[in-house]
Symmetry: C2
Subunit: 221 residues, 2 copies
């Protein structure tokens, strides 16, 4: 095994969060998109705001709070059973099809493979277990009590993987996460499945890929 | 003058940003709401992300970058003239009607009156000048190079106003700003003109008001 490590974001990069929106739609027909959009927006906002305030709580807590907020703001009734079912989706998300396809080639390249996620262990551990994929490390921001894109998070990967920043390839579909990692010093690959513009955060990714399927070829160059 | 200070957020609290959306609508009929919503969302996201990344740039720069992003994402053409006109709106926003009404009573209470804003001096100084309101201090995060709700920002007000955190009343319509200030130690008043749910950031405001008109009475209690 060489010293380079390949580190993935989880939500939206390896795991497709679309099923959460589908579950919302099944509970509240016609409202699923509005609910899941506001839910996701608040979930992310609060990771940033709590990090700046230095008032960390685990991602599972923020995710539940944001669901409560979205339903309250849209005046949609939410009971415990529905809330629990929706949170449970986060532990059972499907992999993007291109992930399973690319994984054997990435394994064969003998990189150390890891996940670096905002997700708290109570969410990410069952999710990875049910995926059937094997990683050398599953690292959560919960170990440093601050969310991405704080440099503390990327530094944590350096420490835990025993690799220098320049030895780490980082892969995320969240542009701000990719650029936070670039600002820190990783080589980064932005997975831009939707053709979004790049975030104006003062950095550019080393490569922009349409999906994980392009990653083995990009890394080999 | 007593030692207490009354500190206001600017955008959305004293100044109504609605005219920016109106100008968008006049440039791109039928698209104004979508553009201004995405513009505002990216503008705020980048203040938080850049703060966490420790890659501050002034709010006027972020505001322009976010406008470019919104138009690119929605595939709407933007030329320099339109961009400049839209940025110019930020220097000429109207006061909410309840601000001008409440101001004489707040003055009379002999508080020190100040603004604490994400806005950079190139935006906020002409805006305050054209409002006709007189403040004892107009403080910008530009002096500390990090955005709200980082505690550094609220600490800056303490330092510049020469008041202890407990001597400062802080007023914001942005719930996360009010709660960031509460987390820091100010007494805070959340102006909730739209009846939104409270953000789940681990704190509650000392008071929730429907508008600035209620502030003199609330402070007198």
């Amino acid at each position: 095994m060489n010293s380079r490590a390949l580190v993935f974001d989880a939500y939206g990069t390896l795991f497709d969060v679309h099923s959460v929106a589908q579950r919302c739609e099944s509970f509240w027909p016609g409202e699923g998109a509005r609910i899941s959009q506001l839910w996701r927006a608040k979930q992310l906002e609060w990771t940033w705001q709590r990090s700046l305030m230095r008032r960390y709580v685990p991602f599972s807590r923020i995710t539940r709070d944001a669901l409560d907020y979205a339903c309250a703001a849209l005046r949609i009734p939410l009971d415990e059973e529905k809330a629990n079912r929706l949170l449970q989706e986060y532990r059972a998300l499907a992999l993007y099809p291109d992930v399973r396809g690319a994984f054997p080639a990435l394994r064969k390249a003998r990189h150390k493979l890891a996940i670096l996620t905002n997700g708290s262990p109570d969410l990410i551990e069952p999710l990875v277990a049910q995926s059937g994929l094997a990683f050398d490390a599953v690292l959560s921001v919960d170990e440093v009590k601050i969310f991405k894109p704080a440099p503390d998070v990327y530094q944590h990967a350096v420490k835990r993987l025993g690799a220098a920043p320049g030895e780490i390839d980082f892969v995320s579909s969240n542009c701000w996460d990719a650029l936070g990692a670039k600002s820190f010093g990783f080589r980064v690959w932005w997975i831009n499945r939707s053709g979004a513009p790049i975030d104006a955060l003062g950095f550019s990714p080393d490569g922009i890929l349409g999906g994980l399927g392009e990653l083995p070829g990009a890394l080999a160059q």
